[in-house]
């Protein structure tokens, strides 16, 4: 891939972009039991509360519920 094809605004990925893409929605499998780590989801949603107007957060929670 050529340099021209990489369009990063910063050398390092911004934390907010990392949160947007990487954190939340994962699973933990212990033996054959799936454990969701509620705390991680809460951090994700907590940051979302700061991130977005209330109605959009509710929408996000609803989407996550549907996908769970």
């Amino acid at each position: 891939m050529s340099d021209a094809m990489e369009r990063w605004s910063n050398d390092q990925v911004a934390l907010v972009d990392l949160i947007d893409r990487v954190i939340g929605g994962g699973v933990v499998i212990s033996g054959d039991v799936v454990i969701g780590i509620a705390g991680v989801d809460l951090v994700y949603l907590g940051l979302r509360l700061v991130l977005a107007p209330a109605h959009e957060v509710e929408e996000s929670v609803a989407l996550r519920r549907r996908s769970a």
Binding site: M1, A4, M5, E6, R7, W8, S9, V13, A14, L15, V16, D17, L18, I19, D20, R21, V22, I23, G24, G25, G26, V27, V28, I29, S30, G31, D32, V33, V34, I35, G36, I37, A38, G39, V40, L42, V43, L47, R48, V50, L51, A52, E56, S60, S67, A68
Partner: protein, 260 residues
């Protein structure tokens, strides 16, 4: 093995050669673990510090999460620029390799489908901000009476609302245009200025799944749009290529369903 827990970064096709991974979470070695036609990019993390309890304890610790998330992302970023990878979101822990193998087998069809979905494609991000020079006009000043004030205020509010609607329509058109140059596209929640570090209001947080072969064309299109009247009053910011985080989201839900 009792001292280690398996962290899966992403899923790839088996029988593809991978090497040169960056160092993983907790400075561990990253390698590929094959199960049938699929393989997972994995690392063995010390249970002490990275077990389920640690995740629960550190879930509210943003700097801990950031450290883990950055390493996770670096590995996937390397993988995505090298080949096709279905990225997994955090947390992504398995008790042992057998447990991971069971998951890969049980959700094999869906994972292969996810691999086909992102095959030879990468994700690009386009954010649109309201240009700082295009802020709302100042509130009416120097009006004589209460009635004049209300009239001026009403006109002012109406003008602002029209301007906002117009910008919203421009943003919608840009998103659609970029979407047509992509295999798939999605509009995420805008990021708040408090976390984005930008003073301008974010109007679009778009993700586009773009064929590797079409990336140059996609970027040219972004440039064309940025220079066109459609971008009047707007700032476009493009970043990428990203692993296809936004286009593999049903994978976790599937594994949850199958295994749970």
């Amino acid at each position: 093995m009792d001292e280690a827990i398996v962290h899966a970064y992403g899923v790839v096709a088996a029988n593809t050669s991978w090497s040169g991974f960056p160092t993983g979470i907790a400075d561990t070695t990253v390698r590929v673990y094959e199960v049938g036609d699929l393989a997972a990019i994995v690392g063995l993390l010390p249970v002490k510090g990275f077990g389920v309890e640690d995740w629960e304890e550190n879930a509210a610790n943003v700097s801990w999460l950031e450290q883990v998330a950055r390493r996770h992302h670096e590995v996937l970023q390397y993988a995505a620029t090298t080949g096709d990878v279905v990225p997994l979101r955090l947390p992504s822990l398995y008790r042992n390799l057998e447990s991971l193998a069971d998951t890969l087998r049980a959700s094999g069809d869906r994972l292969e489908q996810a691999l086909r979905r992102i095959q030879a494609k990468l994700e690009w991000s386009v954010k649109i901000y309201r240009s700082a020079t295009d802020e709302d006009p100042p509130a009416p000043a120097g009006v004589a009476s209460g009635r004049d004030y209300l009239l001026a205020r009403s006109r002012d509010l109406s003008a602002r609302s029209t301007a906002r609607e117009q910008l919203g329509e421009q943003v919608r058109k840009i998103h659609e245009t970029l979407g047509h140059a992509s295999a798939e596209y999605v509009r995420n929640q805008p990021q708040d200025a408090a976390l984005s570090g930008r003073s301008e209001q974010m109007l679009l947080n778009g993700a586009y799944l773009v064929s590797r072969a079409d990336q140059r064309r996609f970027l040219e299109l972004v440039d064309e749009i940025a220079d066109s009247p459609l971008a009047k009053g707007l700032l476009l910011e493009v970043s990428g290529p990203w692993p296809a985080y936004n286009f593999a989201s049903d994978v976790e839900a599937t594994t949850r369903q199958v295994i749970g």
